[in-house]
């Protein structure tokens, strides 16, 4: 390999990994939005996956093939604890209940010595790479695409458009919502485990409010018409700050404005890939 190419790949290795991981995070937001709900706990789920995977690797020395699925269990349990009461209620409750989740977990990470406190966990070996990150992304995309084409997908779309009508037509709205939230927790937890195993250090302050909003902006920018759209949204928003480093001051302003503009003027996202047209 020529030196410049090697340098190039090395320079952008973290960005390439981040594209895959953020794609998974965008999907974890997509599955919730697809049933007409909003969860702001994606970053918290990710953090749980990151912390539990790091502990499993460092303390129990388990192989990554075991660590990765095991790390999705804690986020799923939390999703159950929060989703069960709130999904009975109107959509804002899930959003509000999850908005604080990241902050609470932060308090837990800080106060439990085994979790490293403020110093976080460092020295995590680099176990994840192109194969695990992009393999998982492709599998997730394929599964979600098949689901969206199936009867389940049509039920989900019906719920999104008109929940009451969907319920009347015999769609078990609550079960779909909980299922979506759990799937979302699995995806975010796995993304967390992957990210912990590419960056050697995780800290307690990385999974709070701002990353949660950023993940939302991925999915909104892309739109939720198909699972590919939110991934594309994540890629744009991951690459943009790298391309526009000179405007670093305004990066968060920009992320916020994207959400505003998309919700107000482009309800289908920037990339309204209408899947129904492909299918029919």
């Amino acid at each position: 390999m020529p030196v410049w190419l090697d340098d190039f790949l090395w320079t952008y290795q973290n960005v390439v990994y981040a594209l895959g991981i953020n794609g998974l995070l965008a999907l974890s937001m997509y599955v919730v939005l697809a049933v007409g709900q909003l969860s702001l706990g994606q970053a918290a789920f990710m953090g749980m996956g990151a912390y539990s995977s790091a502990l499993l690797t460092l303390k129990l020395h388990l192989p990554f093939a075991v660590v990765l699925p095991a790390a999705t269990i804690p986020p799923v349990l939390f999703a159950l604890a929060i989703g069960t009461p709130t999904l009975r209620l109107s959509g804002v409750y899930l959003a509000i209940a999850t908005i604080g989740l990241g902050e609470v977990l932060r308090a837990v990470y800080l106060n439990v010595d085994a979790l490293g406190g403020a110093l976080g966990i460092s020295g995590i070996p680099e176990r994840a790479g192109m194969v695990s990150i992009y393999g998982l992304l492709i599998v997730a995309l394929a599964v979600l695409w098949l689901v969206a084409r199936s009867g389940i997908g049509r039920a989900m779309e019906a719920m999104r458009e008109d929940e009451i009508a969907a319920a009347v037509m015999g769609v078990n709205v609550r079960r779909y919502r909980l299922g979506a939230l759990l799937a979302s927790a699995v995806l975010a937890g796995a993304a967390g485990a992957l990210s912990a195993h590419v960056s050697s250090f995780i800290g307690p302050n990385e999974y709070g409010f701002e990353p949660a909003v950023t993940i939302l902006s991925y999915a909104l920018l892309g739109g939720i018409s198909s699972p590919f759209a939110p991934v594309a949204g994540a890629w744009i928003l991951t690459l943009l700050p790298e391309a526009l480093r000179g405007f670093a001051d305004l990066r968060l302003v920009f992320n916020g404005l994207i959400i505003v503009v998309v919700v107000l003027f482009l309800p289908n996202g920037l990339l309204p890939l209408r899947m129904r047209r492909w299918v029919k």
Binding site: L119, S122, F201, N205, A248, R251
Partner: protein
């Protein structure tokens, strides 16, 4: 300020495009600092210190007249952006040495990356334990708290302190490390620790913790946190009637003129150990303070002072290395023998600052620091 910065950047771009021969005679130095987001104050102070020193260095140049080009990348306090910045600085800008990043947490993420590439990395503000143990290319010019805090505590003991309560912000590595050092220093000196209370860096209400401490009547309260929460704690301690009979002791974070700005007279009597002091009378320091004020219109703080020295230490190491080569610069850095605004400076074999002679204990009086008697 923004505009001049942009223009300077544009001018540099044009110059480097038009005159490739000039571009070849430049030394690329990278810095990773927090320039945006809630913790931007530190990175901005550091960048100001670096820029000030850079202007002086480039007046003469290094390696026989070459200019140092300093590229400062924003990490926004975010680990991933810090890593991306390090990879970009090394892989694309071909920086031969990196200054920063600002926070210890960021250094824990960036250190393994730069160390893998054997690019020397010099922290100017990373005081947490374990930073330089990450690898043979990781240096720091900031005195770890373990060199500063014991000096303060000894002074307190000399004033008759026998019992102490400790408070710290438990959500950042800097404050937690500072607390660990305070606890060790208190135990070593035989001070009785009455209680240990925590709070969050963004908290504004500390009444519950302080009321508890007040009831225990300690001789002193040691506080490890960044300056903003420390000021809040001090203000509220006075409001709750914790008077001058209780000595307040600060760590590295309290060592900022902002303590006086925010807490005012409430902070009077607080003791803070510092590797640097704005009113240090030597010529190097008075010039630095005057130049800084002239350029930025405000007093420098310790972060700016450390950055100022670091830029010069780095420039000297490049000069002594004889080439813009990371490996040679690393070796030269190890042999640093420098005297700057912080006083005489050398690295230990473990790449930490060698001497803590420069540490002074400061006391707040009328909202300003003065040498404690």
């Amino acid at each position: 300020m923004k505009r001049t910065h942009f223009l300077a950047g544009a001018a540099a771009l044009v110059a480097s495009a038009a005159l490739p021969s000039l571009a070849a005679a430049q030394v690329q130095v990278g810095a990773i600092e927090i320039l945006t987001g809630p913790a931007a104050a530190y990175g901005i102070a550091i960048k100001a210190g670096l820029d000030l020193a850079l202007a002086e260095v480039n007046a003469k140049g290094v390696l026989g007249g070459q200019k140092i080009v300093l590229t400062v990348e924003d990490s926004a306090g975010n680990k991933d952006q810090a890593i991306n910045a390090a990879r970009k600085l090394i892989g694309r800008d071909k920086a031969v040495i990196i200054i920063g990043p600002t926070l210890s947490n960021e250094m824990f993420a960036v250190g393994p990356v730069t160390n893998e590439r054997k690019v020397p990395t010099v922290g100017t503000s990373t005081t947490a334990a374990g930073i330089t143990e990450m690898g043979p290319y990781i240096f720091r010019t900031s005195l770890p708290e373990s060199d500063v805090v014991p000096v303060t505590f000894k002074k307190a003991q000399a004033r008759g302190v026998k019992t102490i309560a400790l408070m710290y912000a438990n959500d950042d590595a800097f404050s937690k490390s500072g607390f660990d050092v305070m606890k060790a220093a208190a135990e070593k000196l035989g001070l009785k620790i009455l209680t240990i209370e925590t709070f969050g860096s963004k908290d504004t209400d500390f009444a519950a913790q302080l009321t508890k401490i007040k009831a225990l009547k300690p001789d002193a309260i040691g506080i490890s946190a960044l300056v903003e929460p420390v000021s809040g704690v001090v203000l509220q301690a006075r409001q709750l009637g914790i008077g001058k009979e209780t000595l307040l002791l600060g760590g590295n974070g309290a060592n900022s003129p902002k303590l006086g700005d925010i807490a005012g007279a409430a902070a009077d009597g607080m003791l803070v150990g510092s590797p640097w002091f704005i009113a240090k009378p030597d010529a190097v320091n008075t010039k630095f303070v005057a130049d800084f004020k002239a350029k930025y219109g405000k007093d420098p703080d310790q972060f700016a002072a450390q950055a100022y020295d670091t830029m010069k230490i780095v420039a000297q190491a490049i000069d002594r290395a004889g080439a813009a080569d990371s490996e040679k610069i690393t070796a030269a850095l190890g042999k640093t023998d420098f005297s700057g605004v912080m006083g005489p400076f050398k690295f230990t074999a473990g790449r930490d600052p060698a001497s803590s002679e420069g540490v002074v204990v400061l006391e707040m009086r009328g909202g300003k620091f003065a040498i404690a008697q």
